[in-house]
């Protein structure tokens, strides 16, 4: 029973990887970026858990910066993905411009909050 489960899981991961390999490179970059952001945020949360949240606004701005930019990247990914028929008419360049603009606005707020 246990064995078959690990096997199944193995098979599942394998199929997942092969399926992901077909993803276009630009989406992979975005995925990587999202992972990078989320990990950075995680490390800051760990720091807070271990050391304490003394400059609390600095911690918040650090984490929110990471989370915010990850969310924006996810949005970008949704818009850029060709499978999504909803955004078929939207050129990826336009989506990227939006992403850059939103990031700039987000970070203006973050910087203001950083203290």
């Amino acid at each position: 029973m246990v064995k078959s489960t690990s096997k199944d899981a193995h098979a599942l991961f394998h199929s997942l990887r092969s399926a992901y390999a077909a993803t276009p490179t630009n989406l992979k970059i975005i995925d990587l970026y999202v992972v990078f952001s989320v990990f950075t945020a995680l490390i800051q949360v760990v720091y807070m858990a271990i050391v304490g949240s003394f400059p609390f606004n600095s911690f918040l701005s650090g984490v929110l910066s990471c989370i915010g930019t990850a969310v924006l990247a996810v949005c970008l990914r949704i818009q850029v993905n060709k499978e999504n028929k909803e955004f078929k008419d939207l050129p990826p360049e336009r989506a990227f411009a939006d992403f850059v603009l939103c990031n700039l606005v987000l970070h203006l707020v973050i910087m203001n909050f950083l203290g």
């Binding site: 990587l32 992972v35 990078f36 203006l108 203001n112």
Partner: protein, 752 residues
């Protein structure tokens, strides 16, 4: 003084304050305050008004059935009393303190003169040596042809005291210059300084010709500035007249008379004497008999206070009187009043006032019209018990001895009662050694109390009467104090019904007592004593209070009334139960007897009484909350210490740096991942124009991020937003160009 029939009055401690305990009421504690608010300096040590305590007692009078009546009783006795002391050693030491040179000089020549003149008048030999520096300043001022008239005047004044070596040519030059000024002078100050300087030169160097050939003319031009009321104008185009200027004018006119080469027209002198009389009509006075001049018009710019105004007039008047013959019709009382004004100031706090005071007194001391004599008492508190002698001194204003005279005690009466005099015309003996007039023993009719003694100075020599001003009768307040004998003091507890004595104890109010009594609400407490003066009369003190203080600090104060011969108070506890708030237990008894003239005033604990009162009914009034200590209410409040937030605990630096490295780790992972995926820049435009735009786009983003970093580090929001506005516009433009270029290329690719 308190209404003595206020029996049963209870002072509830919450609102009752007792500022009139005998300490503040004794003769030594009489507050003397100056009523001369308009003089420049107040001095409380030697003034006229002894203002006896004004007291405000607030008390609550409770009725048996409750209902409180608030009574405000304000008792204040203000009595005018005048004691003037002649100039004494305290003035000399004050002079040395006020006039202390810095760096070997007194600053300006005017200040130097004031200091030197003051020292000269007071006869201070041990004055600071400033002659070297001052003489140099004098010869510089006199030698220079540009020095101002005022400086020349003061330089000559300094020289008149210091006798510096100034050669004849210098004097000649100055005299010539002064005469030229005098010829075209139009303003009073020009006249004053030039004539004053010429008079000084005349006194210092007889070789210089300073005589005025046209003295009548000068006299007339100064006189032309006078007003009909005896005051003067500073110049012909200034319509405002001033008393201060009148003093200057009189001094200048006196100088003119002394400088005249030929006799001045007598009619001019006569009119001027009339002017002086008119000027003295405008003199003002205080109710203590002192006279002074004040500027009628209050001009902030050139306003002189009463002291300098009076001083100016006195100088001018005495100078004029000394150069003219014949009498000036100014009453001696006014001259004496002026002297009293200057003496009444005490010791002024600034050097200018001090000089004005001393100089004016010196003028009065030697004036030709009448020399004021000041009657003073070394002590105005006389003890009957110690058999103090009544001593009176008569001096001139500067403290030198008076001509032979007799002091008469015309009358003495208890203050407040004008008619009943206790002494009638006694002549004081004279002790030539100490120059004191004294009365050996006070007459039998004088008992303890405050009196007004009326003195009169009788000059022996009838010629002196025209020279000296004695001012008629002088009224002086005198306190006669003594030990008061207390006897028949006893305290007793009585039965309410029959008045029969339950317990009775004798008290020795001169010593310690520790009576212990017990009583219930059906009984009465009686305290009685007798007071007698050293002469054996009955004495009624200002204050006789009985105080009962419960263990819980609740106090009740009763006025002890007097019934003819003895003081007695009966406390009927039945009527006082409610006032005592039904508080049973131990009450401490304190007796206060005090008066200004009672040498043995006391506040003494008599003992205690154990009271047994009934239980309080439900609606009984609660004892008032304890009184707030007035010193804590009006005293300094507790210091407020600000608590600063302690800084947060910081983690060790290494740990934070380690985590900084850790946060960078995902970035490394991201870059490695990019490489693994095989990212390239092939899509980067190759042709020149789009490549430039692409580069500018990335630079633009970098610039915005850099701006954010700067915003974090030092810029404020406004500068950041302004800059961001420009950068953003640029970025939009560039971004739009490059992205539309990319879009068009990808579209081409698709279509191809």
């Amino acid at each position: 003084m308190l209404a003595t029939n206020l029996y049963g009055m209870s002072f509830s401690h919450g609102i009752f304050s007792l500022p009139l305990l005998f300490g503040t009421f004794g003769p030594t504690g009489i507050s003397q305050s100056s009523h001369r608010h308009d003089t420049t300096q107040h001095n409380t040590t030697q003034t006229q008004h002894s203002r006896i305590v004004s007291t405000l007692i607030t008390f609550r009078m409770a009725r048996n059935l409750g209902g409180f009546l608030v009574l405000f009783l304000a008792i204040s006795i203000c009595e005018a009393a005048s004691i003037f002391q002649p100039i004494s050693d305290s003035h000399r030491s004050a002079a040395l303190e006020l006039f202390s040179p810095t760096d070997g000089s007194f600053g300006s020549l005017e200040e130097t003169y004031e200091a030197l003149r003051t020292f000269e008048i007071l006869g201070i030999k041990k004055r600071p040596d400033i002659s070297a520096a001052s003489c140099q300043s004098v010869s510089e001022t006199l030698g220079s042809s540009t020095s101002s008239l005022k400086d020349v005047f003061h330089a000559l004044k300094v020289n008149s005291i210091l006798k510096c070596k100034v050669n004849d040519e210098t004097f000649q030059g100055v005299a010539k210059r002064l005469k030229a000024v005098l010829n075209d002078a139009s303003s009073l100050l020009d006249f004053y300084y030039s004539i004053g300087s010429l008079v000084l030169i005349k006194d210092q160097n007889s070789g210089v010709d300073v005589l005025l050939h046209d003295a009548d003319g000068v006299f007339r031009s100064i006189k032309a500035l006078s007003q009909s009321d005896g005051r003067w104008r500073y110049s012909s185009n200034n319509p405002e007249s001033s008393t201060y200027a009148a003093g200057l004018a009189l001094e200048a006119l006196a100088g003119t008379v002394s400088l005249a080469s030929s006799e001045i027209d007598q009619s001019l002198i006569v009119t001027l004497k009339n002017d002086i009389v008119k000027l003295f009509d405008s003199i003002e006075n205080y109710d203590d008999g002192s006279f002074y001049f004040d500027e009628k018009l209050v001009d902030a710019r050139e306003h002189q206070g009463p002291l300098s105004t009076t001083s100016s007039v006195v100088r001018g008047f005495t100078a004029f009187a000394s150069v003219t013959s014949g009498s000036i019709n100014v009453p001696g009382d006014k001259i004496l009043g002026l002297a009293k004004f200057f003496l009444g100031i005490g010791i002024p706090g600034n050097s200018k006032d001090f000089f004005n005071q001393i100089d004016s007194l010196a003028c009065l001391e030697s004036n030709r019209v009448s020399v004021p004599l000041i009657l003073s008492l070394p002590a105005t508190v006389l003890s009957l018990t110690k058999k103090d002698q009544l001593k009176v001194k008569v001096n001139t204003v500067l403290g030198s001895s008076a001509p032979p005279l007799t002091v008469k005690l015309v009358q003495a009466f208890i203050s407040g009662t004008k008619d009943s005099s206790v002494i009638e015309s006694l002549e004081l003996k004279f002790d030539p050694e100490t120059a004191v007039h004294f009365l050996d023993v006070l007459p039998k009719s004088v008992d303890v109390g405050n009196y007004k003694f009326v003195f009169e100075i009788v000059l022996h020599d009838s010629e002196d009467k025209s020279v000296y001003a004695t001012g008629g009768q002088t009224q002086v307040p005198v306190f006669v104090t003594g030990l008061i004998k207390i006897d028949n003091a006893e305290i007793a507890v009585l039965d309410s019904d029959h008045g029969s004595v339950e317990t009775q104890k004798q008290l020795d109010l001169a010593g310690e007592n520790a009576v212990s009594l017990s009583a219930n609400h059906l009984q009465k407490l009686r305290l009685s004593f007798r007071l007698a003066t050293p002469r054996g009369n009955i004495f009624k003190p200002h204050q006789a209070f009985l105080k009962l203080r419960h263990e819980t600090k609740v106090e009740h104060i009763f006025v002890v009334g007097n019934s003819g011969k003895q003081f007695e108070i009966i406390l009927d506890f039945l009527g006082l139960v409610e006032k005592f708030f039904y508080l049973s237990g131990r009450y401490d008894i304190e007796l206060t007897v005090g008066d200004a003239v009672m040498e043995n005033s006391f506040l003494r604990a008599v003992g205690h009484v154990e009271l047994d009162l009934p239980e309080a009914p439900e609606k009984a009034p609660r004892p008032p909350p304890l009184a707030v200590d007035p010193s804590s209410r009006y005293g300094p409040k507790a210091e407020i210490t600000h608590i600063f937030r302690s800084p947060e605990k910081r983690p060790p630096q290494e740990l934070s740096l380690a985590f900084l490295g850790l946060t960078l780790l995902p970035l490394v992972g991201f870059l490695i991942g990019l490489l693994r995926i095989g990212v390239n820049l092939k899509n980067f435009p190759t042709s020149a124009v789009p490549a430039t735009f692409a580069l500018l786009f990335h630079l633009g983003i970098a610039a915005v991020l850099l701006l954010y970093v700067l915003f974090w580090l030092k810029l404020d929001l406004f500068i950041t937003l302004k800059t961001l506005c420009f950068l953003g516009t640029f970025l939009m433009f560039v971004g739009h160009r490059i992205l539309s270029h990319l879009a068009s290329t990808s579209a081409k690719l698709k279509s191809a």
